[in-house]
Symmetry: C3
Amino acid sequence: MSGIRYGGDYNPEQWPEEVWAEDVALMRRAGVTTVTVGVFSWARLEPRPGERDFGWLDRVLDLLHAGGIEVFLATPTASPPPWLGHRFPETLPVDFDGHRLAYGSRNQFCPSSPVYREHALALVADLARRYADHPALALWHVGNELGQVCHCDVTAAHFRQWLRARHGTLEELNDAWHTAFWSQRYGAWDEVIPPRRAPYLINPGQRLDFARFCSDALVESFRAERDVLRRFTPDVPVTTNFMGLQRTVDGWALAGEEDVVSHDWYPDPDDPESHVLSALGFDLMRSLKRGPWLLMEQAASAVNWRRRNPPKPAGQLRAQSVQAVARGADAVCFFQWRASRGGAEKFHSGMVPHAGPDSRVFREVEALGADLAALAPVAGAPVVAEVAVVLDWENWWAVELDAHPSGDLDLLDRVRDCYRPLFELGVTPDFVPASADLSAYRLVVVPNLYLVRDPEPLRSFVAGGGTLVVGFFSGVVDERDQVFPGGYPGPLRELLGLRVEEVVPLRPDEAPVCSSEALGEFTAGFWREDLVVEGAEVVAALDDGTPVVLRHRHGAGAAWYMATRPAADAAVRLFGRLLADAGATPVPRPPRGVEVVRRGEVLFLVNHGAGEVSLDVPGAHVDLLTGGAVSGSVTLGRFGVAALVPQSG
Amino acid sequence: MSGIRYGGDYNPEQWPEEVWAEDVALMRRAGVTTVTVGVFSWARLEPRPGERDFGWLDRVLDLLHAGGIEVFLATPTASPPPWLGHRFPETLPVDFDGHRLAYGSRNQFCPSSPVYREHALALVADLARRYADHPALALWHVGNELGQVCHCDVTAAHFRQWLRARHGTLEELNDAWHTAFWSQRYGAWDEVIPPRRAPYLINPGQRLDFARFCSDALVESFRAERDVLRRFTPDVPVTTNFMGLQRTVDGWALAGEEDVVSHDWYPDPDDPESHVLSALGFDLMRSLKRGPWLLMEQAASAVNWRRRNPPKPAGQLRAQSVQAVARGADAVCFFQWRASRGGAEKFHSGMVPHAGPDSRVFREVEALGADLAALAPVAGAPVVAEVAVVLDWENWWAVELDAHPSGDLDLLDRVRDCYRPLFELGVTPDFVPASADLSAYRLVVVPNLYLVRDPEPLRSFVAGGGTLVVGFFSGVVDERDQVFPGGYPGPLRELLGLRVEEVVPLRPDEAPVCSSEALGEFTAGFWREDLVVEGAEVVAALDDGTPVVLRHRHGAGAAWYMATRPAADAAVRLFGRLLADAGATPVPRPPRGVEVVRRGEVLFLVNHGAGEVSLDVPGAHVDLLTGGAVSGSVTLGRFGVAALVPQSG
Amino acid sequence: MSGIRYGGDYNPEQWPEEVWAEDVALMRRAGVTTVTVGVFSWARLEPRPGERDFGWLDRVLDLLHAGGIEVFLATPTASPPPWLGHRFPETLPVDFDGHRLAYGSRNQFCPSSPVYREHALALVADLARRYADHPALALWHVGNELGQVCHCDVTAAHFRQWLRARHGTLEELNDAWHTAFWSQRYGAWDEVIPPRRAPYLINPGQRLDFARFCSDALVESFRAERDVLRRFTPDVPVTTNFMGLQRTVDGWALAGEEDVVSHDWYPDPDDPESHVLSALGFDLMRSLKRGPWLLMEQAASAVNWRRRNPPKPAGQLRAQSVQAVARGADAVCFFQWRASRGGAEKFHSGMVPHAGPDSRVFREVEALGADLAALAPVAGAPVVAEVAVVLDWENWWAVELDAHPSGDLDLLDRVRDCYRPLFELGVTPDFVPASADLSAYRLVVVPNLYLVRDPEPLRSFVAGGGTLVVGFFSGVVDERDQVFPGGYPGPLRELLGLRVEEVVPLRPDEAPVCSSEALGEFTAGFWREDLVVEGAEVVAALDDGTPVVLRHRHGAGAAWYMATRPAADAAVRLFGRLLADAGATPVPRPPRGVEVVRRGEVLFLVNHGAGEVSLDVPGAHVDLLTGGAVSGSVTLGRFGVAALVPQSG
């Protein structure tokens, strides 16, 4: 297959077989190329332990193939059938409070359960064996939105095994967890348990290691299924769909085991800024394996799980879909093809809504099929970035532990505070892990790095001429969540040319004024720090002289520090300065609400704002979506999009 | 007994016997006719398993009878003694999270427990045997405010038995619950359990059936006790007291098993609109068995279970009591006769307050006794209605399930939004179930009917010339909570002359303007829908043309649809139009805050507002309460009441 | 040792031994006299059941002693090691919901567990045996912030034993708990359990007795350890550190078992009124044993357990420390000496912060050492009060039970409402229990006494010429939480010259205007009552005549009643009147935000406000802190302090 794949989750077991033919006909009408089948089919495929019922699936795959539609075939392991929980209650997850959760929903399994794994892998093997050579099979889709966490005794044993591998000896574990405090020293391995409801604050080392373990256990689950699949189909790529920007699984680790990254994404139609968070998420997905990715799920209109679930306004679906392609998606898929009649997600919209094909939603779905076909030339093309943003899962887990200076420090907020000004300046960054080689970039942004495992990549990047900016409350702890001797920013002190005596989370109503020759006067918020300057130059300071933005030359480059959160407009000015300081290629600033991204040779324009806007586009272009010529400027209405290819000649 | 009964719960076991004589003397002084005895007496009657201690109760009943006071004798089954829970922990209820609840409060039983039932029925039988012929016995009062729900394994077995009876086969159950989604297919009956805490959303079919089961199990409990009582006293009527407007038990089903309906009602003294909700509840109680009902519990002044519990202002008790009589009550009773000295409800006011009889409260209680005696002529008289409001418990359970377009859609709010304009227009409606024969009414109001079992009663009502109005988000699912094929409003589509493509829950700050020739300009809120008109006429629409109120001629009648919630004043105008359209008998609109209800030949006026009002009352009347003549007009101060009988001649 | 002790919790087991020497050197630099060692050392001292490892502690104590620093040696019983919970799960506490809490935090023990106690006392004995004669040992510090509550079955058995001792027979218990209501009568002792999650409100008698039991069980735990310690070191005083103003343990009872009172106190740097609550707490601590007390823990700067944890502003630590000394503290100590590198409290500040000794915090710590040395003359001196405030734990527990007229009636709020005007008038009161002999005082303030065990002390105080003021909702119940016959204020009715018919909790937006010749016009809030005057004179009344402040001559004195909460300024006027009525010695009213307290012959002035203030100080003084002469007036900047001794001659 070439071009941009288009389709959605297809759950034919919800419908009588007579509907299936109509489905395929409608899919063809809409330009659907690909559907995901079998995500929740375990109970149908294995109605009783050990039984197999593949006949219906054979017919579905044959029918789809006959209709020219390829299949992403799912392993149905995200939702075990009731019989598994009923016969083997130890496979059911236990929450932090000690409640064993019931079946009747989905995801009710303990990722550490050998009983669960054994049943899951046996079915996966039979599935792979049966469909290995089916001509419709294009990709394996393992499980669904991996993220289960369990606190049971089986998990405890698994956790101890993981801890032995990480720490070697109990003495090392006691040191790492700082169990000398509060009399928590473990005298024997079998005393060690997951975090569970306790009288007061729980050991943060234990919580951080449990977060690592939970992520590793899920990656291990994925790997186990992938390895079974590879035995049967070494050439069919394997993915599992990420659930948005989720904290539970280390994205770098999981992507490292996948052949291609896929992503489920549900922006809130009520959030006028949702396109910024979408862009952030899409850039992250593209970065996880440095290449094209699959938008595996989005909604055609409303979802069902927010408190209030309005539909998407007309045109938004198209704008959001093109946005994904612009930022590297080679597939635009939906949950789900046909809206369910029953069950917990019946009010989650489908490509075919309850109202049927004679509806605004289906008409938009059809039009989108045509649009994506027109975008075929962009498939596989790269997005090239000069700026990188560091996102590190261990730091995410650590910085959001409790009993910190502020319970409101949310890592994603910090990332967003740095991403938004880049977006507004028309700059598309990559994301990188904290351990990445950064030499390909001009500017590296570290929104926060509370936990520092190794400062060397940052140091050598700056020494080699790069520009680095680091956000507040960084360099605080090592990988054991233990404060660096000598205080913050620990191993970044020399690089940043400063040290921090005390951190000051501000009240929501505190907005101190900062003055700065370089940035103009602005207000700060959320945070400030009592700093001692050790070589850095003060770029901005509070009225009382407390520095809030600093810059330190180091080697051939410069390291900036933001000890506060500047107001939104000042953040744009600051990032403008950073880009200039880094020598980044200048790009024109797009009008507010308009997204400008270059993928391959195509320049994508998307208007997420409410009103009509005009943009200068020097030179002659053709709009892939309309086939029309564009010369000098483009006018876009609400949710208007353009995909411009330079006209040769 | 004739006239309006007057009294309250009498719990003499809380007091030394020397107080009992004073009680009877004070009751006589207050005009008390009736007391409810024994509601919480299980532990006193059966201090140890199988023992019986009836002596004290013999003395109480004899004393009351000697004082001319009749007795509503309660079965004490709402509150088992500690020994039951201690010896038989399986009788204790288990909550959704799996916590087994303790004794030390009340209501701690599993309605499905055979052990509980066996002990309860044995005591009920002995009670009935002993007092069958006691001359004070006027009525049996079974349990108290039935509403217990349990999620234990005994309940699970009972639930499965109920499900087998409902669905026949497991395949039917799988279909009904749409278990094809999320791999929830049951392979054996013993896998099926009540809804319990699970990782994510729980199957709505399971939840809806569990709601039905819980209601049925409580009705079954009631029936079991009633049948025992009838064996001994076939002629003594049996009731159980409803707890306000409560969702848990299907009112129509429970009332169907009772001989007379009774009701506990505690309006909030802080809510200036509480009389509207009271009127709604009273009309519902009258409708449940289409006749007089008993106000079994109200408070003489403050209650104890709200966050803040102010006393009732002077005069309010009288106004509220007369309101109940006006809307069909043949008894006005209280919880409880004498405020407790100890225990969890000691700050719940009593007819005899902590301050004793020399108090405002007791003086109002005395005066109320005289008022009710004066209202004797109204006892047994009917309230005749031309308007019916549909209230259906299955729909109530279904429409409030989670994962819906809006988590704020509360059925009672929707009913209140329709009831309030009727109240303000001086119209007293009946309530009816969705399956009722509606031919006796001119206007039928369906605030919401998300779940439609059978549209036929509505269809034939309109076809026969009736006027129907249906609120938004109706006609969505069948009785299995499965969306009707072809979309909303499903089986009401032809009747209403429209179909709905998408529903749009609005933000709290959205108040779109609607224009309408018939109703004037108004603002809408909470909801709107994307509609396709299929024959209906548009009565009101948003600025962009989206219809929000429609009217469709059908047969000899008309069916209206409200796709939004009009602002309060517009709702009054709309219901005025509906009444006119229906050809309802015109009644004058009372001043704001004043309630006007006709019961039998008596016209009741109650001023719930803060200021003095005057009303025109054409013709000559006598006020039953004062005995005075009224001619032309009546002036009522705050909480003023009048009960006017036309003067013959 | 003489003078004011200075130091903090020292947890050397968190640090390598090479840090210990640096610690002692820094302590000496800062003027530290005393450290608390071993609070959380159980797992280090007994790494496996029955083992002992005292070597490290020997070295620590020797090192400290060599450095001239004395030791408060802690029993490490607040935080059992993981092995105790792992091997003996029955020692882990169970919460109200039935969850057994895990280790991994601290405080995870059931105070009633014999297994816990046996292990704890064995270690305490070995500790006492080993260090009985160590020259550094100055005081025993038992456990930490006693407050654990458990609902397990072991607790249930202990509770029953306590109940038998209190009530004698089951019949007495049934009477006391008023179990006649709601069928809660117990037929056998083994049916009785602690309050646990139940379907509805729990018996208040059971809850009140459980509160008493929990307090007694903790006092019993303390006593058990104390008795072991006394066996080995009859002359070393024993304390345990109170956790702020905490409800769980009866302060009078626990203090009665201690040799000296100690206190942990963490004012919120964000609360501009925190100094008033601090003063209240400090006066209470001084009162508990009528003498000097130890400030055992405070923070050098930020804490870690609030949602937002800003550091203390420069100078505040000094002001707060001097405030404690002014109100009777003979020690100023911290949690903890050196901020932890790891663990749950690493962001709780230390005397040596993460930033190390070259920091503002450590410089303030050093300066404070010098200040406290200068205040040595005040050590041991008394604070003399003419005013007493009644604080009674049983009343605290009872008045905050649920299902009351207002769920917002918080006893500490009531106490604060009375304390604040005294503070603003420059008056320093004592606290007393409700049973105290009051003859030494001129004015006795009873903010609330819902539960009255014995009115005699109040009666005889007034009869003997004293002035009493009692707050609303007093005299309601007896010690069984049963309402006094005849209504409120029960046994205080004659003394106060009034009775209460109904209590009226006001809405937050209700602020009725009161007029009063004596106090001027003012607004009231929170509460009012419908009163019948029986001899009292009305000092202030609402517009409708309802009395809100009354005064009743009784014997040689006067008893006032406050039926509402006057606005803050009116409360100051009212307390001014009360002081005048009582003939209290007049003191000048200090400027707002300034605290004036006399301890011994020293007059302490502390400016907690934001701006500079000047105070008249008639006569000639020397400021102990500066050694300088003060004559006529003193000027204090923000957080400025003075400790003035009259200059003789």
